[in-house]
Symmetry: C2
Subunit: 254 residues, 2 copies
Amino acid sequence: MAGLGQTWKLTLAYDGTDYSGWQVQPRRATVQGVLEKSLAKIEGQPVRTVGSGRTDAGVHALGQVASCELQCPIPAQGLQKALNRLLPPAVRVTSADRAPAGFHARHHALAKTYEYRINRASVCPPIQARYVLWHPYPLAEAAMVETAPLLEGTRDFRSFASHSREPPENTCRTVFSSRLERGGDLLVYRVRGSGFLYRMVRNLVGTLLEVGRGNLAPNDMDRIFAARDRQAAGPAVPARGLFLTSVEYADFGA
Amino acid sequence: MAGLGQTWKLTLAYDGTDYSGWQVQPRRATVQGVLEKSLAKIEGQPVRTVGSGRTDAGVHALGQVASCELQCPIPAQGLQKALNRLLPPAVRVTSADRAPAGFHARHHALAKTYEYRINRASVCPPIQARYVLWHPYPLAEAAMVETAPLLEGTRDFRSFASHSREPPENTCRTVFSSRLERGGDLLVYRVRGSGFLYRMVRNLVGTLLEVGRGNLAPNDMDRIFAARDRQAAGPAVPARGLFLTSVEYADFGA
């Protein structure tokens, strides 16, 4: 049956607050679960999707990418509209593009960008509460800004991979860009890399916060990388400030 | 007992999505309910509050005002911090100010400002879904912008008062300012008035939308005012786009 249908690249935005993450799990509301349920209604039979990667419970997305194959003939705009009619408002398809046969959202991803938002106001606006980490306490922000680029490069990020899963054999990853920026009340961390280990972004941000608190210094980073030990880095920050903002692929003319 | 304590003016922001409105109701989560519960923990006994007015289920606030009297001596900043520790993140005290004895958040309000947010993008961003009306369909926005100021003035707003409650005998109100403005993907209606009838703002916006759809014209407004009939105006828009942005009082040096 594979190869007879059309391969699709779906780009999704979602509010992860009320979902147990991206990946389908029995008896839990997941983003992939609601997506596959909506696709099955259009296709008239079960549809399997592949995400560019998992996002954890509570993590949001502005540009998650999923691939799937559909037999039903439908124009791209029609598919997007049909999906957005079927999906809950917390999950939106921001674009539906035809992809070459064999396109695989995870295997073919070249880079991903994440953003972590920290609100520094003395009172966190309620309409931001689901989408930021609120941190009104003193932070040496300049030291954090200075530290962020020290996390760039092709390195062994094992110290930043969470223990709750066995890390893969190869924990080497390339971080192309790692920057922290203040805009209004928001301190925003943006990181673009070839791939990320489990909870790696939340562990990187937790480490930057330890620098802000004075518990670590910029020049501790080399020691933390060398340790290859999760205990050497800072604790993970909560999921709610994290957004998967985009996933990059080789251009196929979509 | 009244008169022995300190009168307080509390300014609140809230995400109304998960609340059955402002006003305390048995067996329902309300904003006033969670506020009074938190105040009672600080005071050690029940505390009654008065809001500047009710907000409906699902309506948000950036600057709702409540008054109350507390016996417990506490500095203003201490009260704000203690409340924000006790309240859920969806409800925040943005300021706590000492007020003159007898200050009454409803009786002494001079003006209120509301904002209604309409998202015009082809896809509504999930993180806005709880806070806007999504309306991607064609609208004659210029006609709506032209109509908005025609709702200003001291008028009988009975046509804009919802049926679900008996309107008060006097349905005359003063709207100081009524403006519609496009900013990015958002079409924002701002209205400032002496006071508002039940669902009046949502009915005003619904009427503007009927103008945008071509079902009403700017010069229909005088006829609608004259009709004193709810059926003459447009249907109410959903609560989720509505924010009570501020309540004004005579200055008491707070």
